[in-house]
């Protein structure tokens, strides 16, 4: 028998039909998903069938070691994972998922591929890894393609190039693994042969139930700990304060006008808004109903007025203090630039190039900048230390996002409690969004 890697699959050449393989008329041999590599090898070994294995093409790997120490619960998590060398660890944001991954890489001591959701996280992982291991860390993204024994990539780049990368790493790590079951991304796990797999997340469950795919793709949940179990111990306590701001008279008038347009459309088409799904329906209608598109545009404009109201700028002025470390979040890039221009606060959007982003983060960390404003790019797990004040000027109303944005702020600073302010416009639909999120 001969096993050969071919673009995200394994060719099985030989007379035996093995579990999880299928006859491929195109190439005249059996074929299997790369995912089953470990099982196939185990099966062949157990059945004492001689075979030649040409699957792995590992990147040469230096010895990997670090001086990082684990906390008790991290140690527990690692012990559980090591029994199978597969599976997902569920830990709240800020509890040191990266450190756990680091220690696991060290114990496997073999080429490792790490998949994370955003370029910011790529940068952050690379920084942590190169500090801990003192070796060059690779990056495989839209911006850079540099493969090293330890390489960090995004879900998008990993998906696009999975068939080329799939046989070069022994350990496969997914950060924010709840993204993995998406129809496209799951193919990363299917096209990699990596026998060892680790998933990390703070929110295992998905609303669409697709997390049920995870055991097949990387192994089931092997360890779980919640924020409440850690609060006060390793995570700083925080407080949320909701602040109502009022629209100016002009804004109020405009808002009502746009909102009216939207409402009238709903009435004319007998649509009742009960949740985000109903809104999606209108978006779909806009494909053929010009009025629907008009209504959506009006609603967006109304929403923008509510989010971007002048009163919020004034409130921000009140909340800004030079001896705090403040991060301001807002949904619209326009608003980011407006705040940045008004207060001369560095800003980060998805358009900020990685070089400038890095500079801003570094200066924020070492205290040169006391505040920064950002649109959605800081979503999920980005590690921005030393911030004790968060101000949400707008949000999209997803509960997971809310949790993780909070998590980012849970860093103690000179024994100061972290505070998250939420600026909500009074008498608009936005209040409802915010209410829904808190549930």
């Amino acid at each position: 028998m001969r096993l050969i890697y071919h673009r995200g699959t394994i060719l099985v050449k030989g007379e035996f039909s093995l579990p999880n393989t299928k006859w491929d008329i195109r190439s005249g041999c059996y074929r299997s998903q790369a995912l089953h590599y470990r099982d196939i090898v185990e099966y062949l070994e157990n059945s004492k069938i001689p075979f030649e294995d040409h699957v792995m093409n590992l990147i040469p790997c230096p010895n990997i070691s670090s001086k990082v120490k684990l906390r008790d619960y991290q140690h527990q998590a690692m012990k559980h994972w090591l029994t199978q060398k597969r599976g997902t660890v569920v830990m709240p944001t800020g509890s040191g998922k990266t450190v756990l991954a680091l220690k696991i890489i060290e114990s496997i001591n073999a080429p490792t591929f790490i998949v994370v959701p955003t370029l910011d996280l790529v940068r952050q992982w690379k920084e942590t890894l190169s500090k801990a291991f003192d070796i060059e860390i690779g990056e495989y993204t839209g911006e850079k393609k540099n493969l090293q024994a330890i390489t960090v990539s995004t879900y998008d780049s990993a998906y696009i190039n999975a068939e080329l990368l799939g046989n070069q790493f022994k350990l496969l790590i997914f950060d924010e693994v709840h993204h993995l079951p998406a129809e496209s991304y799951r193919q990363i796990a299917e096209m990699f042969v990596s026998p060892y797999r680790l998933g990390l997340t703070a929110t295992y469950e998905r609303e669409d139930e697709l997390h049920e795919e995870l055991p097949r793709l990387i192994g089931g949940k092997v360890y779980e700990i919640h924020a409440v179990d850690l609060a006060g111990e390793h995570l700083s306590e925080y407080e949320t304060k909701k602040i109502d701001v009022e629209l100016t008279a002009d804004e109020q008038k405009q808002y009502e006008e746009y909102h009216e347009t939207f409402k009238n459309y709903l009435i004319s088409r007998h649509i009742r808004m009960r949740g985000p799904m109903d809104f999606k329906k209108i978006v779909m209608r806009s494909g053929y109903d010009p009025k629907a598109r008009e209504a959506i545009l009006a609603r967006n404009k109304a929403e923008r007025i509510a989010y971007n109201s002048q009163a919020k700028i004034e409130k921000i002025q009140e909340l800004l203090h030079k001896d705090d470390r403040t991060i301001i979040f807002t949904r619209y890039n326009d608003m980011v630039y407006e705040i940045s221009k008004r207060f001369f606060i560095p800003c980060i959007t998805h358009k900020t190039d990685s070089n400038e982003r890095e500079e801003i983060f570094n200066k924020f960390k070492n205290g040169e900048y006391a505040a920064l404003v950002s649109s959605q790019v800081l979503d999920e797990g980005i590690d921005v230390p030393e911030a004790n004040i968060g101000i949400i000027v707008s949000g999209t109303g997803s509960s997971r996002e809310y949790v993780q944005r909070l998590g980012r702020l849970l860093r103690p600073r000179e024994n100061k409690k972290a505070i998250l302010y939420e600026l909500v416009t009074k008498g608009t639909k936005e209040t409802r969004t915010s209410y829904r999120r808190k549930k």
Binding site: R7, R26, R31, E183, S184, D289, R293, F344, P346, K363
Partner: protein
């Protein structure tokens, strides 16, 4: 290719297709807006385009997306936005308006410009703030053509499988299939999928298929079929998408038939062969020949009367290449002759089937000989299997009858058909010729006789058979006279 959300489609009864643009008006308007915004801020261009959007906003955005790729953008300020920002942020932040004014003043001094220029420069490197400094225009029709192609490619992003037929260009297409990491099967066209398609329907290869399309479209005639996964009433469905070069959709004119040759040797051979004016049609890379799980794409194909014969030229050589080629040729399910460069140091025994060696140029005569033999064999075979021929018409052309019987017309001329005679390329009943003879008897004038004959779809060739000969005056035939009667004419006159 466009972002998925700009795709507009028709779905109907299990089939799907893009909503092709046929109207040039919108394209013209969008192009004009771009032209009018030369040296203006991108932001303004976007605003203007937005005003054009109605229920057709996806089309407007699709067209703009294509045009944006033809623009160059440059920052609107001479100052570096990044430097100005850094200066302001490092001295920030400014809580009050007074503080802000003060810092602005400071920056203006530092960069030696006005406060307003500082404000303008701050984000001047942002996309929206940049100037459209260059725009390569194109005609509305060309834009529409490219837009339609983009729509098709975008639709193919969600293709699960893909089928195509072409009549040329195989080499290029198969190279591209391999380059894109795709796989193929041959049954009723070429069925393209990816390695992992074996396990489940898979959209991962859609982007690669979209990239394959333009290469297929280079052929003069092409036909594609794809299975597209899409949501219908929120449920995933698989719909059919069909398109061919005969559909007359406005698409870019990228047809590029395989006219250019891989080498001078091929070019020379092609010219030599065509100058012989044989009734064999020669085509370059005309077809694919199945060979085990793979295919051979011969360099030349020769066609005549259901006969197909191929020539493969082996001009260069590496041991792996040769080994692969030979093993493929051994499995090839069609007659292929291999022309091997004699400098390659190969032996005749290395190759299966016919082989000929060449030095600088491929010898024509051995090929002609092979073709002739092939035809002779065909005729022989047809003669043996041909049953009794029944003809009801008075006159029928050889070709027509051969087509009807699905045989080589030359086969017909080698056999006897009772009561009929072959004259030129026609088969004519002997009785009918008798009638003709009676009909022209009263006339001698050549022109008149010719007129009568052609009214019966006959040529003056028959005159000889019914016992007349033409009298010439100089270069002009003027009249016919009866030949002297001999004992052994084809037709015995009464």
């Amino acid at each position: 290719m466009l972002p998925r959300e700009l795709l507009v489609v028709w779905k109907r009864k299990g089939s799907i297709r893009p909503r092709y643009l046929t109207d040039m008006k919108l394209a013209e308007e969008v192009i004009q807006i771009f032209q009018h915004h030369l040296d203006k801020k991108y932001k303004k261009l976007l605003l203007k385009l937005e005003s054009l959007e109605g229920d057709n906003f996806k089309v407007v955005r699709g067209l703009s997306a294509l045009l944006e790729r033809r623009c160059t953008f440059t920052p609107s300020s001479k100052l570096s936005g990044r430097e100005v920002r850094s200066f302001l942020f490092e001295h920030g932040f400014t809580k009050t308006i007074q503080e802000r004014e003060k810092l602005l003043e400071q920056a203006a001094q530092q960069f030696q410009v006005s406060k307003q220029q500082i404000e303008e420069a701050m984000f001047s490197d942002l996309e929206e703030e940049q100037l459209v400094s260059e725009f390569k225009p194109l005609t509305p029709e060309e834009l529409v053509r490219r837009y339609n192609l983009s729509l098709i490619q975008t639709l193919l992003f969600d293709a699960l499988e893909f089928n195509f037929k072409v009549e040329e260009n195989y080499q290029h297409i198969f190279r591209q299939i391999k380059y894109l990491g795709l796989m193929y099967e041959i049954n009723n066209g070429i069925h393209v999928t990816g390695p992992a398609s074996l396990f489940k329907k898979n959209r991962k290869y859609g982007t690669s298929l979209a990239k394959l399309l333009p290469v297929i479209m280079k052929a003069k005639h092409w036909k594609i079929h794809a299975k597209i996964e899409t949501l219908v009433n929120k449920e995933p469905r698989i719909l059919d998408f069909d398109l061919s070069s005969e559909n007359n959709i406005l698409l870019p004119d990228i047809a590029e038939p395989t006219s250019h040759f891989d080498s001078d040797v091929e070019q020379q051979f092609y010219n030599d062969f065509t100058s012989l004016n044989l009734d064999w049609e020669i085509k370059r890379e005309p077809d694919i020949v199945k060979a085990g799980t793979s295919v051979v794409i011969p360099d030349f194909g020769f066609y005549k009367n259901n006969m197909a014969y191929f020539l493969e030229i082996v001009g260069f050589w590496t041991p792996e290449y040769l080994e692969k080629k030979i093993s493929k040729l051994k499995e090839a399910q069609a007659p292929i002759t291999v022309a091997v460069n004699e400098n390659l140091n190969c032996k005749k025994e290395d190759f299966p089937g016919d082989i000929l060696f060449y030095n600088n140029k491929i010898p024509i005569m051995p090929i002609v000989k092979i073709l002739r033999e092939m035809e002779e064999k065909q005729i022989e075979k047809e003669r043996q299997t041909l049953g009794e021929i029944k003809i009801t018409e008075d006159i029928i052309s050889l070709q027509k009858l051969a087509n009807k019987l699905n045989i080589n017309p030359k086969t017909l001329s080698t056999i006897e058909i009772p009561d009929y005679i072959i004259i030129g390329d026609q088969i004519i009943s002997k009785n009918f010729l008798e009638q003709i003879k009676e009909e022209i008897k009263p006339y001698q004038d050549y022109a008149k006789v010719e007129e009568i004959l052609s009214s019966h779809n006959l040529t003056t060739l028959v005159l000889d058979y019914i016992g007349y000969k033409v009298v010439w005056q100089g270069l002009h035939p003027i009249k016919i006279i009866e030949k002297e009667i001999r004992n052994e004419t084809d037709i015995e006159p009464k």
